[in-house]
């Protein structure tokens, strides 16, 4: 039972990650490989503020989201003007730079040793200790993230995003400041990813840089694409599938590292197959320019 709760909590965390990435990739058509970096930014901010400054849970999340929004603003403002594929390379760059900071700024982050002892979340006197309580918290987060992205996507703002996805020049000719839309979406996406990071940090109570690598970004991208980009619950499906798979393998007795590798083989192969057969994924609406 505990194990099932653990899997569900992870699904919720990845649900936040995938739906926020989908805002960029599925609704605006811009792929970013830096998502894990913002995930890590939120995790580290929460961890550091909680462990060293005693900042309460909600405060840490807000600070994390704020920092992620700021960093994503600084990062995207100059680079989002770049042609699509070059922007992807730029996000690779930011991902590696941020990972380098997590891994090498030892004075701040303790580098590869990570940060242990992250306290349990306390919200207005409610201490979240059990897995069941954490699942409630995680579900609230996931629902919130989906509400926010859903609102954005269904609004005129979302209409402009879909226009940018297909023909940015046309959108500009209609008077839309496409740069504003792109940067704003990037910031929202980064802030939500950071909130997932905070949740993760307080759940596992220990974080280290290996959870926030480029491969993690690629995993989240795969979840979005396999589930289906551009539809609100598509990424959730992808998250559910790819989170449960290694857990099932682990349950059956395979050691962690083998399970992780098998999952990677699985989603790598599935990504290729989906690109060949159905780029929209299982239930998605957007096929990346098919």
């Amino acid at each position: 039972m505990e194990y099932l709760l653990h899997v569900l909590i992870l699904i919720c965390i990845y649900a936040v990650l995938t739906v926020s990435l989908d805002l960029l990739a599925g609704h605006m058509g811009i792929l970013s490989v830096a998502h894990a970096a913002f995930y890590g930014l939120g995790a580290y901010t929460s961890a550091l503020t909680a462990v060293y400054l005693g900042v309460p849970f909600l405060g840490g999340i807000l600070v994390g989201m704020g920092i992620a929004a700021l960093v994503s603003f600084v990062v995207s403002l100059p680079s989002i003007r770049l042609h699509d594929d070059y922007f992807i390379i730029a996000t690779f760059g930011f991902q590696i730079i941020l990972f380098s900071i997590f891994n090498n700024w030892i004075d701040l982050t303790r580098g590869p040793l990570g940060i242990p002892g992250i306290p349990e979340p306390v919200i207005f006197g409610w201490t979240i200790r059990s897995h069941r309580d954490f699942l409630i918290l995680a579900t609230i987060f996931a629902v919130f993230a989906h509400l926010i992205v859903g609102c954005i996507v269904r609004s005129p703002f979302g209409r402009v995003l879909r226009a940018i996805r297909e023909d940015e020049v046309f959108a500009q000719a209609l008077g839309k400041n496409t740069l504003r839309f792109k940067v704003t979406s990037f910031m929202v996406s980064a802030a939500l990813a950071a909130s997932a990071g905070s949740l993760y940090a307080h759940y596992i109570t220990y974080i280290d840089p290996t959870s926030f690598t480029v491969m993690e970004s690629i995993l989240v991208i795969s979840m979005v694409i396999i589930g289906g980009a551009g539809r609100l619950w598509g990424p959730l499906i992808g998250a559910a599938v790819l989170v449960t798979l290694p857990e099932i393998l682990r349950f059956v007795g395979l050691p962690s590292s083998i399970a992780a590798n098998i999952r990677q083989i699985f989603y790598g192969a599935l990504l290729v197959i989906i690109m060949i057969v159905r780029p929209r994924g299982l239930v998605g609406r957007y096929g990346f320019g098919e």
Binding site: L31, L82, A90, G93, S100, E168, N261, G268
Partner: protein, 290 residues
């Protein structure tokens, strides 16, 4: 100076990978990330042949390079070509190549473990001391072979018929088809050359510094940055770019710490993308045509 020598060694590796990557990009117009795993595969196949099967070193190396070449061509034939037939966008091709990379890298990790391996036998060479600079045999080999290969490729592109055909397709694929050039054939040739170069790089680098499943990715990213800052399609530019990166990395290691080596490369990349996206010698990128 020692730093210059070390920089040359690193640059040589990036150059080999970068030239292959650039050739493939100019002919197919997408970023073939799986190029990284082609490199890694060459190293590991050499390992299988020598350490597991007991073949002599030269045969093993030859086998490794052949394996890389076949793997690269296999990817083109079985995955990229069918995708191109369906008019897949560059983003779809990029995602497919990420999928290929992820799946194969995990496969290698699964089979060999994530630790370092080597196919050298005997003691790690301490190297010769030439005019105060310490450099090992393998390192000299890397520089010389890399330089020679790139010179050969450059000559090929300029003077040999196939090379000119490659340049024609790179310049204007539709026009080239009008003139009767078979684009698929040229692309296969390009994958052959590029993957062979990657295989050579994989073997050489392992000879110097051992292999890990992730080695290809790192070298690929460096090679990719060298290509972008040097100018896509311009071999002298790529050489310049690779040298700049090698110098930047080793100077950073010397002045600050080797921890920031990778980050500095991407800081340079981002600066170039913002200020001079065409690189040293490249042609200016075309923005969306109106």
């Amino acid at each position: 100076m020692q730093i210059l020598a070390n920089a040359l060694v690193s640059a040589a590796g990036y150059l080999l990978v970068g030239v292959g990557f650039s050739l493939i990009y100019t002919s197919t117009r997408f970023f073939h990330f799986a190029h990284g795993i082609v490199l890694t595969a060459g190293a590991y196949v050499t390992f299988i042949l020598k350490v597991w099967s007991g073949f002599p070193l030269s045969i093993s190396i030859f086998g490794g390079i052949i394996a890389s070449t076949l793997l690269g061509i296999g990817m083109e034939w079985n995955i990229y070509r069918p995708l191109r037939r369906r008019n897949a966008s560059p983003t779809i091709l990029l995602l497919a190549s990420l999928g290929i990379y992820a799946a194969l890298q995990a496969l290698i990790s699964l089979t060999f473990g994530s630790g370092t391996k080597t196919f050298r036998s005997g003691v790690v060479p301490t190297g010769l001391l030439i005019t105060g600079i310490r450099v090992t045999g393998p390192q000299i080999a890397i520089i010389v072979i890399s330089g020679a290969c790139c010179l050969v490729v450059w000559l090929l592109l300029r003077y040999i018929r196939v090379g000119k055909m490659i340049r024609a397709v790179a310049c204007d694929p539709d026009l080239a088809e009008v003139f009767g050039l078979n684009r698929d054939y040229i692309i296969r040739v390009v994958f052959l050359i590029g993957s062979a170069l990657a295989g050579i790089a994989g073997v050489l680098l392992t000879y110097d510094a051992d292999m890990t499943p992730m080695m290809g990715f790192r070298v690929l990213l460096m090679g990719m940055v060298a290509v972008i800052i040097g100018g896509i399609g311009e071999i002298p530019g790529i050489a310049l770019g690779a040298l700049l990166l090698g110098l930047a990395q080793h100077l950073t290691a010397w002045w600050f710490s080797s921890r920031w080596q990778d980050a500095i490369v991407f800081v340079i990349l981002i600066l170039f993308l913002l200020v001079r996206p065409q690189g040293f010698l490249g042609k200016p990128l075309r923005k969306t045509a109106i």
